[in-house]
């Protein structure tokens, strides 16, 4: 079981890094430098349900640091950390409350990911004027979160069925 778990975590980390790379290639621009779509939330959502909280958080943090060195810079690490930690907390809490399905958890993660990045941007440039982008970032967060949630749900379902049949 232990080696199997390590192998799973390795696959998740690799998947998260690939998504980070894809994201760094997308010329999607919110109007604020550095703000990203948050595609890697897919891995975090799936891990929250499939491998547990600690593992999900660990892989998420490792992904941010590694992706920052590989495809980004100091600012992108700062952004990702703010977005990653805030969205992780929100998703963890919503999942724990247990009233909502994966889609909602993922949408909340998408929005909080973008809000976290916006706050960092506001602090770095010392202007609160960019909160003007908040509604756009919220809508973008709902859309990406929804797509990731739908995709993640299918993934989680299969993962759980696979785990069940193997026991």
């Amino acid at each position: 079981m232990k080696t199997k778990k390590v192998a799973y975590l390795g696959v998740f980390l690799a998947l998260a890094l690939i998504l980070s790379y894809v994201e760094s290639l997308i010329p999607f621009y919110f109007g604020i430098p550095g703000v990203k779509l948050g595609l890697t939330n897919l891995v975090v959502v799936v891990m929250l349900y499939c491998t547990g909280t600690k593992e999900a958080f660990g892989i998420s943090m490792m992904r941010i640091v590694l992706a920052g060195f590989l495809f980004g810079n100091m600012f992108s690490i700062l952004y990702s950390l703010a977005g990653g930690i805030l969205s992780f907390l929100i998703m963890y809490l919503l999942k724990k409350i247990g009233k909502l399905n994966v889609v909602s958890v993922s949408v909340a993660g998408g929005i909080s990911h973008n809000i976290g990045q916006l706050v960092v941007a506001a602090v770095v440039v010392e202007t609160y004027n960019i909160f003007y982008y908040m509604p756009v970032l919220m809508i973008a967060g709902v859309l990406t979160g929804f797509l990731i949630g739908i995709l993640g749900q299918e993934f989680i379902r299969r993962f759980q069925i696979l785990n069940k049949t193997q026991k």
Partner: protein, 131 residues
């Protein structure tokens, strides 16, 4: 491990996501009302301090300097402000579209430069054009 419900999207999810979307749309509409029309001036801030305020009506090129070195070049043409050159590594500020409406911004994060459209010069920054 708790298995997922058969249902993929429940009533709670629709209310939750719908509510969030409604808030976003409400904020968006609210900001359209709060926001004025075209602005008249461009305010440049570096490190959170006002660097200079320039009229949009005048075609001009503003060199933004930090420690005697030009870090960003702002061009004002036909009532629009555009970042045309920068020494930052990502050049995201240069790729941003030209701005002309009140409260629109161009941000250069690495150089901490913010270019913002304002309606009128504020009294305290009239003479703050620094070198």
């Amino acid at each position: 491990m708790r298995l997922l419900n058969k249902k993929r999207i429940g009533k709670n999810d629709i209310v939750f996501i719908g509510g969030l979307l409604a808030i976003a749309v409400f904020l968006f509409v609210l900001m359209q009302f709060v926001r004025g029309g075209s602005g008249a001036y461009v305010e440049v801030t570096v490190d959170g301090e006002v660097y200079g305020t320039y009229a949009l009506a005048e075609n001009q090129t503003v060199e933004i300097k930090k420690d005697g070195k030009v870090t960003n070049v702002l061009s004002i043409r036909d009532g629009k402000a555009d970042m045309t050159d920068a020494d930052c590594p990502d050049l995201l500020c240069v790729h941003q579209r030209a701005i002309s409406k009140e409260d629109e911004t161009i941000v250069c994060l690495p150089n901490k430069v913010v270019v913002k459209i304002i309606k009128a010069k504020e009294k305290n920054n009239i003479d703050s054009i620094a070198g």
